[in-house]
């Protein structure tokens, strides 16, 4: 089932990439990043069946980093929303050249 799992993971990753590129709501972009992390996790699990359990250990690490990233990222989004009353990235262009 390795090839099938990798194909599924790749399709999910592409959907996440397309979501990041097409959406403007910061929270939805964040969720697309989570979807990409999930796709990578599926790759790790599929390979861990062939190469030993280290892949599953990495999934645990990825989940921890995802949790930390969600906590900090959402705190940033709340701070931005307090400041500008929007999470639409079209209106948050301070760093745009």
């Amino acid at each position: 089932m390795l090839a099938e799992s990798l194909a599924l993971s790749a399709v999910l990753f592409v959907i996440g990439v397309v979501g990041v590129l097409t959406r403007r709501n910061a929270i939805i972009i964040f969720m697309c990043v989570e979807l990409m992390l999930n796709a990578v996790n599926l790759t790790f699990v599929a390979f861990s069946r062939v190469y030993g359990a280290a892949g599953q250990v990495f999934v645990v690490f990825v989940m921890t980093v995802a949790a930390a990233e969600a906590a900090v990222g959402l705190a940033i989004i709340i701070a931005i929303f307090r400041h500008r009353q929007t999470v639409n990235l079209q209106n948050i262009n301070l760093m745009k050249g």
Binding site: A7, L8, G19, L21, T22, G52, A54, A71, V72, I77
Partner: protein, 183 residues
């Protein structure tokens, strides 16, 4: 395919694969952030089923507990805290050009997958067939993950705890109001 899988296994595997892809597509096309978050939860449940089918029961449970249970609840909490439930002007898509660029990048990535798809995994590092199931028999679903985690990867594990501490401190600092009042 390396093993002759039973038909039911294949059916369940493909079923949850289709569910995951369909939910993910629905997720990126929803206007309302709440609906999008709930479709993402659906994707994560389908992925958890795939983990169980791939002999990673512990990871499957963690997926439901941590991702669907904790991370997505934080997302929904923030969406509702910011009162973003109205899909009116908050979640619209970008213009034509970014969409075309996204479609092109998606097609390129899928083309790459098609090209690379024919490659075989390096046989040198492969564990023998049934190794994962054997480990599972010997140490159980949790022990299979816990043994390498607390032996070879102990330092990384400890560093992860530091990362979580920093994340907690960062979230608290960022979430604080500037005028000095609490919360």
């Amino acid at each position: 395919m390396s093993l002759p899988y039973p038909l039911l296994y294949l059916f369940v595997f493909y079923f949850f694969g289709v569910v995951a892809i369909a939910s993910a597509l629905t997720f990126v096309t929803r206007k309302s952030p709440v609906a999008a978050a709930l479709w993402l939860v659906n994707t994560m449940f389908a992925l958890s089923a795939e983990y169980v089918l791939l002999d990673a029961q512990f990871i499957g449970v963690m997926q439901v507990l941590v991702y669907a249970g904790a991370i997505m609840v934080v997302f929904l909490f923030v969406i509702m805290l910011l009162n973003l439930g109205h899909p009116s002007e908050i979640a619209d898509q970008r213009g034509l050009w970014p969409r075309l660029a996204a479609g092109a990048i998606g097609l390129i990535l899928i083309a790459e997958i098609m090209v690379i798809g024919g490659g075989k995994v390096a046989g040198k590092y492969q564990v023998p067939l049934g190794f994962a199931a054997d480990q599972m028999q010997k140490y159980g679903a949790v022990g299979t993950v816990a043994r390498p985690l607390f032996n070879e990867y102990l330092l990384a594990f400890e560093l992860t705890s530091v990362l979580l501490l920093v994340a907690i401190a960062g979230a608290v600092v960022l979430g604080r109001r500037r005028d000095g009042r609490a919360g």
